[in-house]
Symmetry: C2
Subunit: 317 residues, 2 copies
């Protein structure tokens, strides 16, 4: 495979960023994001989650937590473009039997199944359901910075035997230093090679390493790379798409262009910030990243407008 044509860039702005604003994105923004992705050469646009409406009250969340096919279609029509449509679904938090139509009736191209290590059996069922319905499927294994090597390898072997085509390293806590990221990516690549699968990287920026770990994964052989515009995502945010695009463009990947991202950043991401939506690296996220913890305490600290990091560290360590 020609590496320069083989990589896939996934825009996770609405999905990971939706965790920041409860998935309340205006259609105007979503349309602009879709057009931006067409212009920058991004390969997949993740619209949000397909979450269960029984478990998560639609009155309390924006519509992109559910990604009803008709809402996606209102943005993309029949999507006669090269940009593919992805959604994420969490094991145990979706009604995939009913909510996922056959691919032939849906604008969605790819289901990204998100699982923890201890819910891999559930992930396998979801993957097989989605594949049978005709979707491309990836599997994102979350919170692996906490995992034991033995458990992880077992889980990957199980997942690699399914019809998922991509296995994702997900640094949920933004806790991976390059040497740890390398070990994990190498483990994934090793299993993936045995079963003809691809490896992806989804990074968080707690240690200001989201972009560099994404480049590192790519260099090691990961071919699916996630970014979000302005790094919008839970807590410290993700790998900034504009950094990733600038890098790929400079390295000679002709498909990708950074400049078309700028008007979107200037108008829409700046607009979200002006409305008070807050995300991105800050010292509290460094601290949860260092401690290899879920960022929820840091998110609460941020929401409360606290600035006593010294006390915060004593609370969480």
């Amino acid at each position: 495979m020609d590496q320069k044509s083989g990589i896939k860039i996934v825009d996770a702005t609405m999905r990971d960023g939706g965790l920041v604003n409860d998935f309340y994105f205006e259609d105007d923004l979503v349309r602009a994001l879709y057009q931006t992705n067409l212009a920058t050469g991004v390969d997949y646009m993740e619209f949000g989650y397909k979450a269960s409406k029984r478990m998560f009250d639609p009155a309390q969340n924006g519509k992109w937590k559910y990604c009803d096919d008709e809402n996606i279609r209102a943005i993309v029509g029949e999507n006669q473009t090269n940009l593919k449509i992805a959604v994420m679904a969490d094991v145990g938090r979706c009604d995939y039997h009913e909510d996922f139509l056959p691919k032939s009736e849906s604008p969605i191209d790819m289901i990204r199944v998100a699982t923890y290590l201890d819910t891999v059996d559930g992930a396998v069922s979801m993957i097989e359901d989605a594949a049978k319905k005709g979707y491309e499927v990836s599997c994102n294994v979350m919170a692996i910075s906490k995992s034991e090597q033995y458990d992880l390898r077992n889980a990957l072997e199980t997942l690699a035997k399914t019809q998922a085509s991509v296995l994702y390293v997900v640094d949920s806590y933004g806790a991976l230093y390059p040497d740890q990221a390398k070990r994990l990516v190498d483990t994934y690549l090793d299993v993936a090679a045995k079963y003809g699968k691809q490896v992806g990287m989804h990074a968080h920026n707690n240690l200001q390493l989201a972009f560099s770990n994404t480049m590192l994964a790519h260099e090691l052989g990961a071919t699916w790379l996630d970014g979000t515009y302005d790094a919008m995502g839970r807590g410290a945010g993700n790998c900034a798409m504009e950094l990733l695009l600038g890098y790929l463009e400079k390295k000679g990947y002709e498909k990708y262009k950074m400049a078309p991202a700028l008007p979107f950043l200037d108008r829409y991401m700046e607009g979200l910030k002006r409305k008070g939506v807050v995300w991105g690296y800050d010292t509290q996220y460094l601290l949860t990243g260092l401690l290899n913890q879920h960022p929820r305490a840091a998110i609460k600290f941020t929401k409360e407008g606290r600035n006593d990091h010294d006390a915060f560290l004593r609370e969480i360590e």
Copy 2:
């Protein structure tokens, strides 16, 4: 040499950060920073520049642009500690013959000579003057992301023959991707090894790579690592000291502690921000970094409160 005792961490907050607030740091902050560095285990504290008062009007700059010995002494007394005192001096912008007293009369331990490639002869004169007066000396070669390999190696060979003990990679434009950073650090290490010198890394965060490039340099063999608290520094800022300390502590460097940095960040760096002092990564710095340019256009863009990155890119490219 035991690598874990051999590294030197340099706090450049007042020097590179001084470029953001024209060196107007209150004594209260400077004292707190000094105490913080004692507590975190930082090895050198850079107080600012020794700039020429004839060339740079003292009425228009804070006193740390000049670092008079008496002003340093007002903070540190005779500095009976393990924390050493450094100042920077630019070739052609200081009066080193008069302003630099013999080391025996000064609280300063190290002179960091900053030079461009085309002023190396001037740097050599300054290095020899400082060494003769009894100081430790390093040489920081700026803006090397623009340099030709041949010119750089020649300059390094010249500098390595002086009494400077450390040669610094300085990514002034924050333009170095890891592969480029690696090539440069390897070039420095190669020359340094021939002459028994150490190599340092001073990074900027335009591509959100300041911390990761600093870790990379360390891994390759660089032993002098610069950081600034809250990453305070020109434009996109530097490698955040708290990230660096957290990393070193986690990797088993017992000398370094991250937690004592937090009260300083909470009180003083937050205080500077509340007063309107602005620094740190933003899209405009990504753009000058990508184009391998001095950040001055991005600094102006920031000061003017502009948010039209699309137009900005067309202006600078």
